[in-house]
Amino acid sequence: MIIKRIEAIEFGVLSPQQIRKLSAIEIKNPETYDKDGYPMEGGLMDPHLGVINPGLRCKTCGQKMKDCPGHFGHIELIRPVIHPEFSKKIEELLHATCKECGKIMITQDKLELYKQFIGNPEAMLEKRIVAKTKKLKQCPHCGAEKKEIFLDKPTNFYYGEDRIYPTQIREWLEKIKDDDLRLMGYNPERLKPEWFIITALLVPPIAVRPSITLETGIKSEDDLTHKLVDIIRINLRLKDNIEAGAPQLIIEDLWDLLQYHVTTYFNNNTAGIAPAKHRSGRPLRTLVQRLQGKRGRFRYNLTGKRVNFAARSTVTPDIYLSINEVGVPEEIANELTVSEFVTKWNIKEIKELVKHGKVNYIIRPNGTRKKVTDSTKDEIIKELDIGFKVERILMNGDIVLFNRQPSLHRLSMMAHTVKVMPGRTLRLNPIVCKPYNADFDGDEMNLHVPQTEEGKTEARELMLVEKQVISPRYGAPVIILDEDGVSGCFILTLKSTKFTKAEAERLFYVLDIKELPKPDIENKYYSGKLIFSQLLPKGLNLEYQSNMCKVLRESEICKKCEKGNCPYDAYVKIVDGKLVSGVIDALSLGEGKGKLVDEIARVYGPETIRKFYDGAGKIAVEIVSIFGMTVGLDEYEPSEKVKSIKAKALEEGLQQAKKVVEKYEKGTLPHLPGKSLEESFEITMMRIGNEIKQRVEKEIIKEKVLELIEKPRYNSIVMILSGSRGSVTNLTNLVGLWGQAAVREGRPKRGFKKRAIALLKKGEEGLISGGFIENNFMDGMNPIEYFFHSMGGRQGEVDTGVSTKVSGYLYRRLANSLKDLSINQDLTVRTASKDIVQFLYGEDGVFPKNTKKGKSIEVETEIEKII
């Protein structure tokens, strides 16, 4: 392939001579077809303009339809008209020059000074010259008088009071000297302003404005053809009238009409004139309309390409599909096709497919296609041989690409294997929602079928879901269990979870385990940990602190880690694929952490992690439906102890705040480093508010966690403890108190004069009047608190709106600027034109997918392995 760099693009205007040279034939006849339906000689459908019927040869170039590029024709206008898109440029020139001598109306010595700025767009010479000359009444060169030029948009020019016609304007423009044109920003070797006046109009080839034949046999012409017919008609009438010596008034009227038709031929939305309408009243779609806008040539046809072999439908979840699979409705599968080579290994199967009507087309080695129908079936089976290609419908196991917009990600398009199913929606395992950012509230997704062996293999080897578990962006799992998936595994692996043989068999059935292990508790019960261990690969050894451990440490319940002997069963220990101790929670499975998943995906490979996910997903849902995940109001009823601690914390806090306010008003409040008195006061007040909340929060979590460990209840506390959803703060908001309402990282300040909301007294300072909310969602807030709370709520709402908008556009710009960068064989990062961006990819040459959270080596684990 030859790659060349584009140095420059030059836009220009065709001269009448160029148009005549380009033209294959002069169009004179307003009729398009004769009464027999053949194109008229010299008409708009003249065969010299290019062939549109297959088989015929072009009268101009002698080629067939496929090779004939189409040829332009032209119309000789009997009276010239102004090109409407250039009328502004014409006006500029008329303002600047003298009607008599054609020179720019500035003295020669001053013009010499201007010359040095030629070619410098920043100087805006033409604007300066026009501004200087517009109001002049006399030419400094020849002394001739000049009247003011006025443009009645879009195309009528007045010189003083009198109309001037295109013939006169053309004469005027012809007078302008080349040197003066250069000053006005023109290159006179390439473009003369008199070409802005149209004397010969270019007629596009037929291929640009094809006529359509309806079933009824009536021919319907393109809008452009209609417009050109109008132009020719008026042109002829004008010619006849001139030759017959008609009065000037009539000629001028017809001239204006010709101008109108030419104007609308270029742009039917020209300001100041009525758009030309079709007989039905629909405005015509002329040249500018074809290019402009969302449905124009650029945005619709050039940047918005569409593909075949694709399907789109709403997505719905199906946990019984593998993460690698996509459920395809029969209707879609029967419509989409895959091309397949007939070889000596598959000819039998393919013949069988033809017999069952699963092949739509066969393609012979010479490239001819034949449709398979019930009547041709037997014949085709006989004909079919090695070397043929067939187009068969989609079947189970075919590889397809699945995509959800916006495709911000490598993982927004992944390869799945097809599973044909009844129903009308595309189905996917909810575990792969995360990388696609999909949910099931009506999301639609696209499906593409790779056609070549190369494409299919590439999709299977590089894009398959199971190979995308580790993020290529940050080197940690992105395809993860979440919400109920994590809660389910957590409940399953709790110390207290055990099953009778019958109960366990239900779970083994879901997991498709046929050889049952021995019950591990008193020889008759199965522990949840044993069942979970069935998902783990043999030989897996891991040890780490779970998410529950983190919560326990933060709430100061657990003070010293006893590792394997953890009294709360929060220390995960896996020996040879057996979960010995600990619970499986968000730290084992969740995004960005996922220690367990990370290890399986890296050490045991894509297939193992797929099996783990398929099993874990199903069993988690099973567990959640057995045990139930629900909430009751009583769970959020604070205990007496919490109530008293809250009351005490509040009292002390308010007391403390009161003292601070007093000090602040007296001016004895100590300044914080680098802050003003007001700032110090605000910060101190915020701190007091947050301390109160923290005290209550600590007590609540302590109580709830201990309650759960002693007597498990499957509710929102499970979600917080396992890290699947919700946080300790969320719980405190329900049971304890809301705490300080914040607007822009500070206490709500602006609202009214000297007070934040109208319910307060002017100048009142204190914790409560600064937006501290001492109630919770269970008790409900008082009006003051309610207003403060909604101030924070509104800010959150606005922020999410603004940040999605801003970050979306920022991301788009970034992605567009980086899309052509690639890594070369020498590991340099280069642009499309091979300019070096980085001498070594990422400066260390390591692909982030192969790192652990960006680190190519984790020293600690490497050492542990050796010891």
Binding site: T828, K834, D835, I836, F839, D844, G854
Partner: protein
Amino acid sequence: MALEKVSQHILVPKHEILSKEEADKLVKKYGISIDNMPKIKKDDPVVEEIGAKKGDILKITRKSPTAGEFVYYRIVE
């Protein structure tokens, strides 16, 4: 205290002019023409300070979050 030279600033990495032999070796190693090299303006404060001329290749040793230390090359234009 005002800095006398830009290179004294903590954010300005070490710039050195590459000798003719080293430059040839570099160009050969990456198989690049001068057009494909990352560029640096000849009126860049660092370039002026170390007295590099147009066409010189600068070796820039930077700190890198991934590789610790990383060597980058830019041609003066």
